[in-house]
């Protein structure tokens, strides 16, 4: 029962309180790049969530069954990045064969996910905090949901911004960063939700 509550806390914390994008600054590149339209943002979010949960599972197995067992934690960085890169390739092959329609909507985003720092960050954070297997699964799911949430909200705001009269020197990246700052302020309101 106690662990059930703990798992819920990890999930909510990763999704809103310590949102990966707005509190840890992970995945800023897709956040700024792919957040122009709501439906692409949603697809990107789903693809990332999917890869995040898989990464959480596999990096946990590698870390606990191989690296820690044989006292090799200094290989963590290299192993994780290779794992993520090959995982994304496998997922891409699998999706292309099994579900062409899903592939069409996710296809172009999958290779981009390799360089998404949120994925590597997820693996590193869950190793650092010594989560159990189930805990890191939910940590991955929460992080993915939080990423999707931030991306979709941002895309919604940017669609409206198209019609706004933005000063010329703030057009593009600066206004996006300012909007992200206000979003981060709003998300700070969730901080009271969980008292550590």
């Amino acid at each position: 029962m106690d662990s059930m509550i703990q798992i819920m806390l990890i999930f909510i914390s990763a999704a809103v309180v310590n949102n990966f994008v707005l509190a840890y600054f992970l995945g800023i590149c897709p956040f700024l790049g792919v957040s122009k339209k709501t439906d692409t943002a949603l697809n990107m979010g789903f693809a990332t969530t999917f890869v995040m949960v898989l990464t959480a599972a596999i990096s946990w197995l590698i870390n606990n069954l191989i690296l820690l067992k044989y006292n090799l934690p200094f290989l963590q960085n290299v192993t994780y990045i290779i794992t993520i890169a090959s995982l994304v390739q496998l997922v891409e092959l699998f999706v292309r064969k099994s579900s062409p329609s899903l592939y069409r909507s996710l296809g172009i985003f999958l290779p981009l996910i390799v360089t998404n720092c949120a994925i590597l960050g997820l693996a590193l954070f869950s190793a650092l905090r010594e989560y159990t297997f189930v805990q890191s699964l939910f940590f991955g799911l929460g992080a993915g949901v939080g990423f999707t949430l931030a991306l979709v909200i941002m895309a919604g705001i940017r669609e409206e911004l198209e019609f706004a009269d933005v000063p010329e020197s703030l057009k593009g990246a600066p206004i996006t960063l300012l909007v992200a700052g206000m979003l981060a302020l709003a998300f700070m309101g969730f901080a009271g939700l969980i008292s550590a």
């Binding site: 707005l22 509190a23 840890y24 600054f25 992970l26 995945g27 800023i28 590149c29 700024l32 200094f74 290989l75 963590q76 960085n77 290299v78 990045i81 290779i82 890169a85 360089t115 998404n116 720092c117 590597l120 960050g121 590193l124 954070f125 650092l128 000063p167 010329e168 020197s169 703030l170 990246a173 600066p174 206004i175 996006t176 960063l177 300012l178 992200a180 700052g181 206000m182 981060a184 302020l185 700070m188």
Partner: protein
Amino acid sequence: MAKKTLTYEFVKGIWRENAVIKMLLGMCPALAVTNSASNGLAMGLASTFVVAASGLMVSLIRRIVPGGVRIPTYIIIIATFVTLAELFLKAYLPDISKSLGPYIPLIIVNCMIMGRAEFFASKHPVTPAVVDALGTGIGFTWVLVVLGAIREVLGSGSIFGFAFLGEKIFTPWVVMVLPAGAFLSLGLMIGVINYFTLRKRRAA
């Protein structure tokens, strides 16, 4: 002639093609670790080391690596140098290493470093590759230090850990050291730079 080109390669990364303010690369570390000037400096120097060392390696092996596997090769080279930097910081600067935490290993996925390896080091001989990487790294470092200094002065009333504004005359804007402050100050910084660039272009 050759010397002039080298100077050009060095200088372009500092301002004209600056990774953060002009190309919008390496945003994650630029936002995440700039809550104080010294954190920004440490992250900047670590990234400069990684980009220069991996530029050297990538340029050395550029004729040996087949095109199809070049990206994984670059990633492994970068990850190796990042691990070196991480172990070095852990051993000699444990405080900095603790405050930067997992953002040190995250240098691996800093797209600025991959960008230099893919677009420059893999196509040029060793000297220009290293010079270009050093310029990019220094350009990255100064933006991080300036951003860190702005946030530290406004958010904690100190600079490089030295408190020069007393509690009595200045109430720190706590929000500046929080995540929201990072987005706001980088957004305004790029906005101000754009404003002056546009004005100069119009005057010309």
